[in-house]
Amino acid sequence: MTDATASAQPARVFSLARIEGALPWIALGLVGLLLPLLDDSYIGVIAQRAYIYWILSAGLNLVVGYAGQIAIGWVSMLTLGAYATASLTAGNATPPWHPYLALVAGGALGAVFGVVVGLPALRLRTFYFAMTTLGFATIVTQVALAWKSVTGGGVGTPGPVFPWPFEPGWGFYYFCFFLAALATWMTANIASSRFGRALVAIRDAEVAAEASGIAKPRLLVAVFLFAGALGGVAGGLFSSLQSYITPDAFTFEMSVLFFIAILIGGRGSILGPALGTIILTALPEFAAPLVQWSTFLYAALLLVIVLVIPGGIADLLDYRNRRPLEQHREIVARPELLSRVLDKRSERNAIALTGVSLHFGGVRAIDGLDLEIRSGEVHGLIGPNGSGKTTTLNVISGYYRPNAGQLKLNGADLPFDRPQARAGYRIARTFQTPRLVGGASVLENVMIGGMVDGSGSFAESMLSLPRHHRDEKRLKEAALLALATVGLEQLAPVRADRLQHSELRFMEIARALMLRPAFLLLDEPAAGLSAEEIRRLGALIKAISREGTGVLLVEHHADLIFDICDRVTVLNLGKTLAAGTPDEIRSHREVVSAYLGA
């Protein structure tokens, strides 16, 4: 098979999928555009409410569905936007603003507080963020009740009336419709960009995301700004639709509605949550006797979804990923493609550890280790379990800060504690247990590895500007090439969690290759592979090093080590037991007795 067919075939599958994916949106858009022909103002109001809820949920979907951050109190953004727009227009605290300007201000306020509420999510575990959003929602309502001069307190304040061209009635209807369409378009752009993939990576494989150079705080701040702004704008529209707002209008239950719409729809989908929002908005209108039970039923639904179908409707409808895969798949790596994947590196680089020690409590995981990894060489790191191999790798890739010693790249210090900065130095790694983004395709998993090579900004991706398309095209081509190199190109469109263990190992190597690494750190890549696969893996690793990449290979398979390594370091209890060429190590008496066996 030639390279051309290898990359062309999955590409065709994807463009077919894109057309298929657009059909429901076209249908929804047509229904929305033509709905006013019915001339039924009751249906119009329900539709407007659905659009407004969706504007908020579209942004929230990136936070909840993509980034996996459990924002249960996002209704607070709706409240903020509604009160800002309403009280600025009414002139409660300032001279009256023009309604459209006030709506923009509502969006801006939502953006600011989206970030404020999101701050704990940048560092802390899920529950803290959930609690912060809940607390914020509680407090915003309390403030709305207490700050009578601006919000009108419990009595409330009138909502804005937008003048021509979006005056109340069908004018306002189209305003909501177009803003909802715009919000959908922007979130879809982000979702399908490298930023969307990075969000999913943070959700499913945070450690791997860091190793690929994804800076979680920066990315999440951008998403919180965006989701907060959409929430604020939705609030401004909501206050106009309600025509009069009181704190009672913004119950915590509404938050649950947004949240459940997203979960029902499915995480990592946009169509699913959109349908979920429409259904949940419309349902109580058609089941009048159940209205007082609606929140109870939503909550019950949430419980059922979490316990029974955590993937949501999108998962149930994902028929493409239920087609059986070919049974006896073989991974045939093609190292000859490496010259196109990697930059030919002629410069001599080296990562040097001198006197590195790291203690976990009383345990000395590494104890005064010296190690040098040079370009163009495979450096084996072997030793019994607990001898400090993986810990060494984690020090180099920035996850651990040693208690003593130096870590230098070409003579300059490599900063500790900053794993997400390693990708910038072209240091790539794989993991002992493959860290995959299960819900994403193999291709997307590999594309994550090229995150740092994108040139377009978040805003450019959101607006689908040319640099975004150039990035996407280049990343996709590079990822298909990397997949072809490791021998997985046939599996590019398949969900990663359907792969076999050995395939995941090769997928991780492809992801690492996306970085065009100067150094590649492999953590037991041969574990769980068959003898034949290990042989192919060995040839691939050797070929990678011959392109000028320095490889650190942590392994237990002695045959593989002695086959492909240029130099070997043997660790025991965190100390170097021996170091030298494979031949020297093989005949080293202590190594033989301590580790290799006679």
Partner: protein
């Protein structure tokens, strides 16, 4: 004014502290923060008013029934929302499962009990001022709970088993401790503590379904301040929060009090995520 700030602040603070302890007891046994803590607090008030005012039962019978309901709800929480999630790979789903269950109970309360705040009966007719039960009852409940938990954890075998599970559930299971049953017992205990908080604080907070989200948040603040799992931290944090809130309420108004609590909460979370007194880091790679 000082007297009312202190008495009211300590009383509210004691309720927050008890809800914080409720979070902690569930967390220790399962590593799960459950949104049912605020629900239990809310139900303590509503069920108390239901049994004593509506049904006219004697106070002590009412209290016992409320605590029994709390224990039952704790067990249901464990079986329905915690156990299945602990088995799955995505353990953080507990946030959603416990929230969903708490919301179902809250909505049921809103429908059956009503959405208006209703008065809670005066149980011990002495007072006014400091002697008024609404001030000392929550503090008494808090003290009894703390002493009771200390005795349970230090002096009894089952208490030591609780501690073992909290310290290292894997090793505890390997020693043959019945982890699931102990977890269920912990949730039952948490159910009683949570409803006790609501019961004793209800004359002040009223029997109101909306107390749930307020208690969920203000009861979690002491846990975040004092470090998760630390009951002493929760009591100090809870009382401090209550005093601060009341002082701010009286001196500068409710808007400032609410905003200030939130700001302090976020700042502490960002600067000392392990709490002002705690220390915990986990290996990730």
């Amino acid at each position: 004014m000082l007297e009312s700030i202190v008495s009211y602040g300590l009383a509210v603070g004691a309720v927050y502290a008890l809800i914080g302890i409720t979070y902690n007891v569930m967390f220790s046994a399962s590593r799960v923060f459950s949104f049912t803590a605020g629900m239990l607090g809310m139900l303590g008030g509503v069920l108390g008013a239901l049994f004593i005012t509506k049904f006219g039962l004697p106070v002590i019978v009412g209290l016992v029934l409320v605590l029994a309901c709390g224990a039952l709800l704790g067990i249901v929480t464990e079986i329905l929302t915690v156990r299945p999630v602990l088995k799955s790979i995505e353990q953080h789903l507990y946030v959603l499962s416990t929230l969903a269950f708490a919301l179902m109970v809250q909505q049921l309360t809103a429908i059956e009990w009503g959405t208006e705040a209703q008065p809670f009966p005066r149980l011990i007719p002495i007072g006014p001022g400091w002697l008024d039960q609404q001030f000392w009852l929550p503090m008494l409940a808090c003290a009894v709970t703390i002493v009771g938990l200390e005795l349970l954890y230090r002096k009894t075998l089952i208490g030591r088993a609780f501690l073992a599970i909290a310290e290292d559930s894997y090793a505890a299971r390997a020693l043959g401790l019945p982890e699931t049953r102990l977890r269920m017992a912990s949730f039952a205990l948490a159910g009683m503590i949570g409803t006790l908080a609501g019961f004793t604080g209800a004359e002040m907070l009223l029997a109101f379904f909306g107390n749930q989200s307020i208690l969920n948040f203000y009861g979690f603040v002491p846990v975040a301040l004092g470090g998760m799992g630390s009951n002493r931290g929760a009591v100090i944090g809870g009382l401090a929060l209550g005093l601060f809130q009341q002082a701010a309420n009286f001196l500068v108004g409710g808007i400032f009090a609410a905003v200030a609590v939130f700001v302090v909460f976020i700042i502490v979370l960002l600067l000392r995520p392990e709490g002002l007194a705690g220390a915990a880091t986990a290996r990730r790679v």
